[in-house]
């Protein structure tokens, strides 16, 4: 059966059908979406192991003298991404089916299915043109999803759109630069031809457009500004997709094209066995995670906070990948997958909170843990995973990444990353506290209750996945062994059993650790119930330590942790980070507009037309070079 073609064409057809006929009916749309993703998931599952499988378009296109035969080629990396994308979208669709009953829900299915079919093109494209097609179709539908036709979300979505179009244009430039140097548009062939070239300064320039394209998509440091904005504006049930999947396409692109070049010494010069360029890019990853961590400290909107967390995690992944060691790649890919899972789960719980309360401001939330226990549990497990604490899956991959850094003796990098990790723990705890703990707000006391079972399904699945991958990392790493073999991972790093994490300092048996951890947890729980004396307090009994809440600028009857939770940190780091990059892009937009105004004024001055035309003729003459 033709897998890729079916998925792509089915996606486009469903998108069209829903847009044309079921625009008003959200339930049918989501059911179609679930059916589509489930069906595609099953189709893709069958392709495991068939790495030689490919589908070619019947027709051949000639552009100028270039002959192009569009081909979709199955590959391990793309396959694992595709499986996750469609699986996650399937569960996300289940959640959205329940979510569609709320008034906050919009019918975004047509655009979403379009994105999914585009993702197939990106993941399995054999040539750059198909890759680019998918890339563009990944970009523009999200614009409409993010703003949902609402004026207030317009500027946020524009940040997303403008930056990602920048990425798309850079990609186009890069593709043709590659073509100029290799005379081919096939990705694999072009890599091998480029590697056979003598390295020169030009080759470095060739990679810059690709860096821009992929870093924009994955919201890395100078381009991270779109991520929090897009997340906060997007419909609550779409944010999981942005964080979990969309930003991973940048990483996929790096793994697909940049990593093979860099790791084989495409750009000359090494530092401690790591290509110098890659070393600096590793640091870019570190900077990304630190900046995002610091910015997340003061964020009040829970979706923005989690978006910064995603940016930080992208930073870890980039650091790992750009170490260009097999172990780094292993850690990077593993963390990508883990992050997909736990970040989707976190955003789904946030959507559930939003579903019941209708707000994303943490200052307006609090104390709903007892009202929504399953959601709380899921969120708790999710942030533990995000903070990289045992026994959740986030730990396992971060463990490998640390191993990879230490293997290269980049101690400063390890320290910086440790700082970011700790910071992640801090702000995630704050989110937990502000949303779920503390005092419940009066208006939420009666209205908020647990989400329906349909919407709980993804949470349960997510919890199971997070813990089981944390305990048995082999669940993910074992199927990937063929891929690791292909990139030359030494045998000692390759997982032999389900629960033994490899590493340069010996193996860590996660199962044993988990058993010990479980004992400890049981022990602590018993102690908690036996020893701790806890008593209930009346609602209005605020523990304000004798201070008047008014002094804190907080509502009188309520104490809130959302503001100034980590004031010292904020005071130290925030002003610098907040200003620099955000301001840069803001001024960029501002001056672009001014440039437009300036040009526009040329056209508005009606007297100038002949004068300017004559000057134009003069310039023509000057350009000719026969005058001056």
């Amino acid at each position: 059966m033709i897998t890729f073609g079916t998925i792509v064409i089915l996606g486009i057809l469903i998108s069209l059908i829903i847009w044309l006929f079921f625009r008003e009916n959200k339930v049918i749309s989501w059911i179609l979406f679930i059916l589509y993703t489930g069906f595609s998931f099953v189709l893709l599952l069958r392709l495991y192991g068939q790495w030689q499988y490919y589908e070619a378009f019947k027709s051949i296109i000639y552009l100028g003298n270039i002959k192009i035969k569009f081909t979709l080629q199955n590959n391990m990396l793309g396959w694992i991404f595709a499986i996750l994308i469609f699986g996650i979208s399937f569960f996300n669709g289940l959640f959205s089916l329940g979510f569609s009953k709320s008034k906050y829900s919009k019918n975004i299915v047509p655009l979403w299915t379009l994105i999914l079919s585009a993702s197939i093109l990106i993941l399995f494209a054999k040539d750059f043109i198909l890759f680019f097609v998918g890339w563009e179709y990944l970009t523009w539908p999200v614009f409409f999803i993010v703003n949902q036709g609402k004026k207030k979300f317009y500027s946020d979505s524009m940040y997303y759109f403008a930056l990602n179009v920048l990425g798309g244009m850079a990609l186009m430039l890069g593709i043709w630069l590659v073509f100029k140097n290799t005379q081919t548009l096939d990705i694999k062939t072009s890599i091998s031809i480029l590697l056979s070239h003598k390295a020169s300064i030009h080759t470095f320039w060739l990679l810059i457009p690709f860096f821009i394209a992929f870093l924009v998509k994955s919201a890395a440091y100078p381009f991270h500004v779109w991520a929090p904005r897009a997340h906060s504006s997007a419909p609550a049930d779409f944010s999981p997709f942005i964080s979990g999947i969309m930003i991973k396409f940048g990483i996929f692109g790096i793994l697909l094209f940049i990593y093979p070049l860099l790791s084989k010494g495409f750009i000359p010069g090494t530092y401690h066995g790591v290509p110098t360029t890659a070393y600096f890019l590793s640091w870019l990853g570190i900077i990304t995670s630190i900046v995002a961590t610091v910015l997340a400290f003061s964020e009040n909107n829970m979706k923005r906070l989690m978006a910064y967390s995603s940016v930080a995690n992208v930073g870890y992944i980039l650091t790992a990948i750009f170490l260009t060691t097999p172990l780094g790649i292993e850690g990077g890919i593993f963390h990508t997958i883990n992050h997909m899972i736990f970040k989707v789960i976190i955003f789904i719980t946030l959507a559930a909170v939003y579903f019941r309360t209708g707000t994303a401001d943490m200052s307006k939330l609090g104390g709903i843990a007892y009202k929504m226990p399953i959601t709380f549990m899921t969120f708790l497990i999710g942030i533990i995973a995000a903070a990289g604490i045992f026994p959740m899956n986030g730990f396992t991959s971060k463990w490998i990444i640390f191993q990879a850094i230490l293997e290269k003796h980049f101690y400063l990098m390890a320290v910086a990353m440790f700082f970011a990790s700790t910071g992640a723990f801090l702000y995630l705890y704050r989110a937990l506290h502000s949303i779920f703990l503390g005092q419940i707000k009066p208006e939420h006391r009666d209205s908020v209750k647990e989400v329906p079972f349909l919407m709980q399904i993804p949470m349960w699945i997510g919890m199971i996945l997070i813990i089981s991958i944390g305990v048995f990392p082999g669940l993910v790493l074992k199927p990937l062994i063929p891929f690791f073999n292909s990139i030359g991972l030494p045998a000692k790093y390759i997982l032999t059993s389900l629960s033994k994490l490899p590493g340069s300092f010996g193996q860590l048996n996660t199962l044993n650790a988990a058993i010990i951890f479980g004992f400890a947890a049981v022990l602590v729980t018993i102690l908690f119930f036996v020893v701790a004396k806890h008593h209930k307090k009346p609602f209005m009994d605020n523990y304000t330590a004798g201070e008047d809440p008014k002094d804190w600028g907080v509502d009188e009857n309520r104490y809130q942790f959302a503001y100034g939770f980590y004031q010292p940190f904020e005071k130290k780091f925030l002003p610098f980070f907040k200003r620099s990059v955000d301001m840069f892009w803001q001024y960029f937009g501002f001056y672009t507009k001014h440039l437009g105004e300036w040009f526009n004024n040329i056209f508005k001055d009606d007297n100038n037309f002949g004068y300017i035309a004559i000057i134009g003729i003069v310039i023509i003459f000057i350009f000719g070079g026969f005058v001056l």
């Binding site: 100028g64 043709w176 073509f179 507009k593 056209f603 003729i617």
Partner: protein
């Protein structure tokens, strides 16, 4: 195949017939025009389909370098065919402010004949005459709406257009003085003989006129006024049909400037300036018609860049760009006509609610906008993609990078318009109005063309490859015309 002269003469005949038939009824002149465009279209399609080898139509029975010759090859006949099809579809415009006028249709016919003549003729003085015919018809047509902006645009267009066509005339005469001929093939066969500076003088003088028609920066002061003030079908005519002819001329004269890198550089940089100014100006404004006008400027700049680079890829992409731009821009202008009519305003920000009234029409607008922005799967992509590729293959990375930066602004303002049409939470709810059937059909046809060719560029591939070969290989053209 001397009968390809009919493609020019038929609309003229009909133009003369309109004053005779105008008394017969209210719609007589429109019907005559429809007939004219239909017959022209029929002939053009027939000639194009039956064309095996390039043909020349000798006029007056005098051999090519002496008399005037019309050249019909795959390229020119394709363009003429598309001009006729678009001109025919353009007649189904919708504009309630528009009143019938027989003279208007006369001028419309003449303008179409003029553009067809510009494309078909193989004689540069004859080309000057046709540029003037088209120009004079357009000045009147633009001013027809009677708005101040239209009059301003018309006057500016007239003065700059006349001035530059006089320069063109000077260039033509200089070429004749040196080379002794007015035939393009003949001139290009001997053009290498003369020194570079004289070559450049002649070409500069000639190209100033093309720049006016092609809306290149210092010569396009008339564009915003004209597009803002003119009736919608005339704006569509300017954007959709005249731009085809102008773009064609830019490429056809590659026979003369082909080997001159400095001249190509000049074209590229003028194109870059035009793209930047057009796109950023459009980014600034919120007036729907002006946005489309500035976008036109930007797109024409890209075509000029393609002409300046002039290698295989970029010429191919340039032709794709000419066709896709004219179809998409025509579609957008026709839609804009209805949108402005329904919303009662030209301010993009106040058009909220249109998307709710007409979701499918807005979807079609999205298709046109995305095609202009160069999103893959639509017709505009292949043009832009190949021009960028050609530019980089020719080593012009800096101009191409600037163009790509400007293209970001383009994507942003185009998607912004669609956003404002679709937005739901703000803006007055505008009254829903009925869409005329003929108009709807035309719009659907154009958008389907964009999508189908975008997905299957093979449909145009063969013919555009042939066209590229025609442009890249002046020898066969010269042999065909003079032999």
């Amino acid at each position: 195949m001397n009968s390809i002269v009919l493609l020019i003469v038929l609309p003229l005949v009909f133009a003369f017939l309109i004053p005779i038939f105008k008394g017969l009824g209210k719609y007589a002149s429109k019907i005559v025009t429809i007939l004219s465009m239909l017959t022209g279209m029929g002939f053009a399609v027939y000639f194009f389909i039956t064309l095996q080898v390039p043909v020349k139509a000798i006029l007056g029975g005098w051999k090519p370098p002496f008399g005037i010759v019309l050249v019909g090859d795959k390229l020119s006949l394709l363009f003429v065919m598309i001009i006729y099809i678009l001109a025919f579809l353009n007649l189904f415009f919708f504009d309630n402010n528009f009143k019938e006028h027989s003279k208007f249709y006369t001028l419309y016919n003449i303008a179409i004949a003029g553009t067809a003549g510009m494309i078909l003729t193989g004689d540069i003085f004859n080309m000057f005459v046709f540029i003037e015919i088209t120009g004079i018809a357009l000045y009147s047509l633009i001013a027809y709406s009677g708005k101040e902006q239209a009059l301003k645009g018309s006057i500016k267009y007239l003065i700059i257009g006349s001035m530059t066509s006089l320069f063109l005339l000077l260039g033509v005469t200089l070429a004749y003085h040196i080379l002794g001929s007015l035939n393009l093939a003949h001139i290009s066969s001997k053009f290498y003989q003369i020194p570079n500076n004289l070559k450049f003088l002649i070409l500069s003088l000639i190209f100033t006129s093309f720049f006016v028609e092609a809306e290149i920066f210092p010569f396009n002061m008339w564009v915003p006024n004209a597009y803002k003030g003119a009736n919608i079908p005339i704006a569509a005519l300017l954007a959709g049909i005249v731009s085809i002819a102008a773009g064609y001329l830019l490429f056809r004269f590659r026979y003369l400037y082909g080997g001159m890198r400095s001249f190509g550089n000049m074209l590229v940089w003028f194109g870059v300036i035009t793209v930047v100014i057009g796109e950023f100006s459009a980014y600034f404004t919120y007036d729907l018609r002006k946005i489309l006008a500035f976008s036109s400027i930007g797109q024409m700049g890209l075509i000029l860049i393609a002409a300046g680079i002039s290698n295989d890829l970029s010429v191919y992409g340039g032709f794709f760009q000419i066709l896709s731009h004219s179809i998409a821009k025509m579609l957008l202008f026709l839609l804009a006509g209805f949108i402005i009519y329904e919303a009662g305003t030209e301010n993009v920000k106040k058009m909220g609610g249109f998307g709710k009234n007409h979701p499918y029409l807005t979807g079609i607008f999205l298709i046109g906008a995305l095609s202009l922005a160069g999103i893959p799967g639509l017709m505009g992509f292949w043009g832009k993609f190949n021009i960028v590729g050609g530019g980089i293959a020719a080593g012009r990375i800096l101009p191409i990078s600037i163009v790509l930066l400007a293209a970001i602004a383009e994507s942003v303002y185009l998607i912004r318009v669609v956003f404002h049409l679709f937005k739901t939470d703000e803006g007055k709810i505008i009254e829903k109005k009925k869409i005329p059937l003929g108009y709807l059909m035309v719009v659907i046809l154009l958008s389907l063309t964009i999508v189908v060719i975008g997905v299957y560029p093979q449909l145009l591939n063969q013919v555009l490859n042939d066209a590229t070969k025609i442009i890249m290989n002046s020898g066969s053209y010269i042999r065909m015309v003079l032999g």
